[in-house]
């Protein structure tokens, strides 16, 4: 029996540490720990609620924009503000662009090296690689032997001097790598293409929000980018045209590169459809309102909860009252004792580190071992993210998600049970990217139509002035970040933030055990993962990366006091 420590877990956002017990070549137990704490909610206290999004967005630079969105929605919910249609569309376009770019970066730049052996690519035959490229994606132009030869030469020159840079000390040659050299070379070529592509696609964010990362365009009540066909300083025909070009290019890349690569790579790793299942419960808040009525029904990606992998019936209704958090194994304390879970509105703040003094070799995993709290829904651990969203959409009978999931299962020759796995998680992210890339042009078109018909409103200013607010108000905002269900809660008193908190995707997925000792999704998914060589734990990275961890997002403290207020319930 050996206990392996992986710290830092790389190719993620932030600081994640895994301690994993391995017996007979398989993981028998796992502990997930976040090793960084900042205290965003404490910093927000006493500030202007209209400023909260500027702070909250900085929770994460990878998930840039999503915390800003959840934040303005929470304040709008508290104050009863309905945003104009253009603001809804601009928010959808920004968020959708974020999904596409972020998912592609995850696949190629964070996850791919778990499946793709760069060193093997050096021995590929460029002509055979070109044939492979044509077979998996007949319409993609970059498919000549000369092109793949150039890519191979580029990697060779890069490695030739002996300076492998970020690829040095990778697990190259590991027996778990299964791709033939040509597939590896094709993937390496697309790693580089995606690096160029993402820079371009994200310019949609710059057009609508000044810059990426950390857009500067949200407002409580709407958006700050004006719409006017007749001025230069607003969204006009020229900017619509530019966004349309970029959206087309996004769709093209997803259709012709990402999805074919995903299916081709998955074909070599079908055994991973039976590994990494996790807790089997899935939660999605849903997102992308198709109208301004604030209804759950208006959400393109539906809201729902799935228990015990049961996708045979409609997902359960989500009630935010059922969210609670434990600190039994987290470096915080509750005044009433650390064994009971508290609903976010009754939460308490008391960070208290009780771990070993650095430098240390092992955490005391029987006690507290993480800066993450342990969120539970109705007492159950929940997986959130693209797989949860696609499963909820699938179970809810949404047509396009069902088609896409069906297509992937048929292509790979596997059944629906394959979805509950490391491979299923990675595949769902790709399918969702296609689903969303197909939507982007539509929203840009709607914005253009509004503009053409003289609907230029971008902001509802009725409640802009703090003088128009009630003495006390409380609200929450839900969104679906690329990594999963995200909720912000805010309490406003006398025009200032009295309380602020975020319950975020990676807290759900990466949480430590709860009071009953039940493992979180990462910990649970790692059980039974094969480990061929404990010194090179490639397989563990596969499963944990399939969740796309984002640790900066996930560490927060709850800071709520006082009694619950009567609140206006608006869906978003």
């Amino acid at each position: 029996m050996a206990k392996i420590v992986i710290d830092p877990v790389t190719r993620i956002e932030g600081h994640l540490r895994l301690e994993v017990q391995v017996e007979n070549g398989r993981v028998t137990d796992a502990w997930s720990s976040s090793t960084m704490f900042r205290g965003m909610e404490l910093v927000l206290k006493g500030r202007d609620p209209r400023d909260a999004w500027v702070f909250a967005q900085r929770i994460c630079g990878v998930c840039t924009t999503v915390h800003a969105l959840a934040s303005v929605r929470a304040v709008e919910n508290a104050l009863g503000i309905v945003i104009p249609d253009n603001a809804r569309l601009i928010r959808n376009i920004i968020e959708c662009t974020q999904y596409i770019q972020d998912h592609v970066i995850h696949f190629y730049h964070l996850h791919a090296l778990d499946w793709v052996d760069i060193v093997s690519a050096l021995s590929a035959d460029p002509a055979a690689t070109a044939e492979l490229q044509k077979a998996v994606s007949p319409t993609w132009a970059k498919a000549s032997p000369a092109y793949f030869k150039a890519v191979q030469d580029r990697v060779k020159t890069f490695a030739g001097g002996g300076q492998l840079g970020p690829f040095n000390n990778g697990y190259w040659g590991h027996p778990a790598y299964k791709l033939p050299p040509e597939a590896n070379l094709m993937a390496v070529a697309h790693y580089l293409e995606a690096l160029d592509w993402q820079r371009e696609i994200i310019k949609i964010h710059a057009i609508l929000g000044a810059k990426n990362p950390h857009l500067q365009t949200y407002l409580v009540g709407g958006m700050a980018i004006p719409v006017d066909p007749n001025t230069q300083k607003a969204i006009n025909d020229s900017r619509i045209g530019r966004m349309r070009e970029l959206a087309k290019s996004a769709l093209e890349f997803v259709q012709q590169v990402y999805i074919p690569d995903l299916l081709a790579v998955a074909g070599f790793y079908k055994d991973w459809a039976a590994i990494g299942g996790g807790v089997g419960n899935f939660l999605a808040y849903g997102d992308y309102p198709q109208s301004n009525d604030g209804s759950v029904e208006s959400l393109l990606l539906p809201r729902g909860v799935i228990l015990n992998k049961d996708i045979s019936k409609a997902p359960g209704v989500v009630s935010q009252e059922k969210v609670s958090e434990y600190v039994t194994h987290s470096w915080y304390t509750y005044a009433g004792g650390d064994e009971a879970a508290l609903h976010p509105f009754q939460g308490e703040t008391a960070p208290k580190y009780t771990g070993p003094q650095p430098p240390f070799d092992f955490l005391n995993t029987d006690a507290k071992y993480s800066w993450l709290k342990t969120p539970r829904y109705d007492g159950q651990p929940m997986e959130v993210g693209p797989l949860a969203r696609m499963l909820v959409a699938y179970a809810a009978g949404k047509q396009r998600p069902k088609e896409l999931v069906g297509l992937a299962l048929t292509t790979l020759g596997v059944g629906p049970e394959a979805l509950f796995s490391t491979l299923g998680r990675t595949a769902a992210r790709g399918l969702e990217t296609l689903l969303m890339a197909e939507q982007l042009l539509g929203w840009i078109g709607e914005l253009e139509q509004n503009m053409g018909s003289g609907k230029l409103d971008i902001h509802n200013g009725e409640k802009w002035s703090p003088g128009s607010w009630p003495a006390e108000a409380e609200g929450w905002g839900f969104t679906e970040a690329p990594r999963g269900a995200l909720g912000h809660w805010v309490r406003i008193k006398d025009g200032k933030i009295a309380n602020y908190q975020a319950v975020v995707p990676t807290t759900w997925n990466g949480s430590p055990r709860d009071a009953k000792g039940v493992r979180g999704p990462y910990e649970s998914a790692l059980i039974d993962t094969p480990v061929a060589d404990p010194e090179r734990p490639l397989e563990i990275l596969r499963t944990v990366h399939s969740f796309d961890p984002c640790m900066a997002c996930s560490v927060h403290v709850v800071n709520t006091h006082g009694t619950e207020l009567t609140r206006i319930e608006v869906t978003k």
Binding site: R154, G161, Q216
Partner: protein
């Protein structure tokens, strides 16, 4: 350092980049760095012949926003040539190995004492309670920063957090978060590149300067490159004409907003923020905050989370705006307020010697370069 590192010609050819395009890029860098025109050739020469410099990119209390900014390097393919002049030996967000294997990569750079390397730091460093609020591989961020930055030929602190603690360091600063200059005091070659995030165009320029001249660009007393932080946004703002003419945005989405009038009344901090944002823009020059209709939040200013917030509140004590001379007065007044609780940290004499006492661009501004303490 490998002696047989591939030449630039080979790398350019592999990318299908013409020599002319490359020289044009060097010209852009020269302009960004505010160097005389002839320096383009010098930069080109250095990039062509220089060996690859190992770089260690450390992430502490960060959001990876500067890493993301780095990945958006403008003038794609050609900027990559500069990036290929460095060997990014340690960067947790993108490196292939994890855990012990990743630490091995870092140890190898530190062990090779004959080979200078560059450290880039992203995120603040918690100092409270023995630094337990951020550990990597069981070691505190504080101890890692100390160990790596002291050995580096130069350290570049990217983003507001690595400069002065950023928002983790904002009031009430629960973890005692500070920037590199405070966590590792007395570093001789420290470049501070504030911003939330920093602008990758400026980082590319600093790297090119370092590779070309084997030295850092001219810095102010805060260690910020003058080429990037020497001028007031307000003086180069595309909406300056509207300010001078007294045309202001009155409410979001109204005609004045759609016409692109001055955002001063909506809380814009351009009149007190020193940055080349209006000149270089973001995401390959696609746009920038004021250009997209929202005021500047002052993210390149000292302790901006406490000093330039509230976002939508007008700058204080300004009279008679609309007059040309007022703009500088606004900037000076605001910074004067900010500088009230000044703590000037010791900056290495090497840097101070190279600092310009004032910006030399138009003589109309005298940047106040101070470290401030939150009030």
């Amino acid at each position: 350092m490998p002696v047989d590192a591939p030449s630039l010609e080979a790398r350019l050819a592999a990318r299908g980049i013409s020599r002319r395009q490359f020289l044009k890029f060097c010209g852009v860098l020269t302009a960004t760095l505010a160097l005389p025109e002839g320096y383009a050739q010098k930069i080109a020469h250095a990039l062509e012949t220089g060996p690859r410099l190992p770089v260690v990119w450390l992430e502490f209390q960060d959001c990876a926003g500067n890493t993301e900014s780095f990945l958006r390097a403008s003038t794609p393919t050609v900027a990559e040539i500069v990036l290929e002049q460095i060997s990014l030996d340690y960067h947790e967000t993108i490196m292939a190995p994890a855990g012990h294997a990743a630490e091995k990569s870092l140890d190898a750079v530190l062990a090779n004492t004959g080979q200078p390397f560059l450290a880039i730091v992203e995120g603040s460093i918690p100092t409270k309670d023995g630094g337990i609020y951020c550990t990597i591989g069981g070691k505190t961020a504080l101890s890692i920063a100390e160990n790596v930055c002291r050995k580096a030929a130069a350290t570049i602190a990217v983003g507001a957090c690595a400069w002065d603690g950023g928002w983790p360091g904002a009031n009430p600063n629960p973890t005692g978060a500070v920037g590199v200059k405070t966590a590792v005091p007395g570093l001789k070659s420290l470049v501070n590149m504030p911003g939330c995030p920093m602008n990758v165009t400026n980082l590319t320029a600093v790297l090119a300067h370092f590779l070309t001249f084997k030295d850092l660009p001219a810095l102010d007393q805060e260690g910020r490159p003058l080429f990037a932080y020497g001028q007031l946004i307000h003086n180069n703002c595309e909406r300056r004409g509207h300010f001078d003419a007294g045309r202001f945005v009155e409410s979001w989405g109204d005609e004045s907003h759609r016409m692109g009038y001055c955002l001063y009344k909506m809380g814009c901090k351009g009149p007190q923020t020193y940055s080349n944002c209006p000149a270089v823009g973001w995401n390959d020059g696609t746009s920038w905050p004021i250009g997209a209709g929202h005021g500047c939040v002052g993210c390149m200013s000292p302790h901006f989370w406490d000093n330039t917030i509230p976002v939508y509140e007008r700058l204080p004590h300004i009279e008679g705006f609309g007059v040309e001379a007022t703009a500088d007065k606004v900037g000076m007044t605001a910074l004067g307020v900010v500088a009230a609780g000044v703590v000037v940290h010791g900056v290495a004499s090497a840097i101070r010697a190279k600092s310009s006492p004032q910006a030399t661009h138009d003589g109309s501004e005298v940047p106040v370069h101070t470290t401030t303490k939150k009030g």
